[in-house]
């Protein structure tokens, strides 16, 4: 393996970009392919398919044998709102293996004491997402109930294609939210991707139970998501 490629691979992974480490098993030569890099022919097709499925494996192409090691960014959760539900969700998400970030500009909610050991940012989503953008491997959970805080990240999540977008609120609250998102230029199909009322319907009552419903909903979306590029 080329040392330069090892560095490149690690840099790309750290930046949450999908990459494939491609090795020609005949002569040991290797390359790092970023998602979207043009590669022609059957090998290009195999790479595109591997980016969609996330599955590493062997590919025979051009009478050569290649190994494709696919590195997709690990799924993470971004929560808008440092509320009671988020406190429970943060703990559960860590156990389930997700990275989680909580964003809330309201400093009364976003305190270190309430979220010990959790990546917590007491700032407006507009500002935080400018430097830490959402991506397709991120679940966006909006739970403040406040349009001033929730709407921007929800709109960004829909535009970015986050694998999960959920928003807390009653059907009435959500109906008004749909009107606002429509005014922002989102179409019906996009808005329909929002899980609202948020979470799987398990009759959750307490904040911790709602957190379970949200986390299960996120896992279902992650494991059953259509391959990227497929018509859904």
């Amino acid at each position: 393996m080329d040392p330069f490629l090892l560095r490149k691979l690690n840099t790309e992974r750290a930046a949450r970009r999908a990459v494939i480490h491609l090795t020609d098993l005949g002569d040991g030569r290797d390359r790092v392919i970023r998602e979207g890099d043009p590669v022609a022919g059957p090998l290009g097709d195999a790479l595109a398919s591997a980016f969609r499925s996330g599955k590493s494996g062997l590919v025979e192409a051009e009478e050569r044998s290649f190994f494709l090691n696919v590195h997709l960014p690990p799924a993470r959760i971004v929560v808008i709102g440092a509320v009671h539900i988020s406190q429970a969700l943060a703990k559960m998400a860590v156990v389930a293996g997700f990275d989680i970030t909580i964003i809330d500009p309201r400093t009364a909610f976003a305190t270190e004491e309430r979220f010990t050991g959790i990546d917590l940012v007491a700032d407006w989503p507009e500002d935080v997402l400018a430097t830490r953008p959402l991506d397709a491997y991120t679940a966006l959970v909006a739970v403040t109930h406040d349009p001033k805080i929730d709407d921007f990240p929800l709109s960004r999540a829909l535009a970015t294609g986050c694998f999960y977008v959920g928003a807390l609120g009653s059907r009435k609250t959500h109906a008004r939210r749909v009107e606002r998102l429509t005014a922002l230029g989102h179409d019906e199909a996009e808005i329909a991707r929002i899980s609202a009322p948020i979470g799987l319907d398990i009759g959750a009552a307490s904040p911790a139970e709602i957190a379970v419903a949200i986390l299960a909903d996120i896992i279902a979306s992650l494991r059953r998501r259509p391959l990227r590029g497929d018509a859904s």
């Binding site: 040392p3 090795t23 990275d99």
Partner: protein
């Protein structure tokens, strides 16, 4: 630094390389049956036999490390194949089951 970064074999390979150590990388490239570690799993080995990560959860690491020392020595990649489908081993709960193919290459 989070847990994943601390334990990530590719991050460790780069760190070892920066420390001036000789490094080999072993990768599971194919599995049959119930293999313990999925395709793409890495074991990183240095010139003194230190290692990190896993290709089988402990079953064949010893053999892979031995081969990796050779690879570090001559720079030639090796393809290794292991089958651990022994019924006796299964009964006493030691078997990895299935078979795996492991590619070992030198970094640099």
């Amino acid at each position: 630094m989070d847990v994943n970064e601390t334990l990530d074999p590719l991050a460790i390979a780069e760190r070892w390389m920066d420390d001036g150590r000789m490094v080999a990388l072993a990768t599971v490239i194919e599995t049959w049956g119930s293999a313990p570690r999925p395709v793409g799993s890495h074991l990183v080995i240095d010139g003194e036999g230190h290692f990190h990560g896993s290709v089988s959860g402990g079953c064949v690491e010893g053999a892979v490390i031995g081969e990796a020392m050779e690879v570090i020595g001559d720079g030639e990649p090796r393809m290794l194949e292991f089958g651990v489908a022994d019924e006796t081993a299964w009964r006493v709960g030691l078997s990895c089951g299935g078979r795996i193919r492991v590619y070992v290459e030198r970094v640099g």
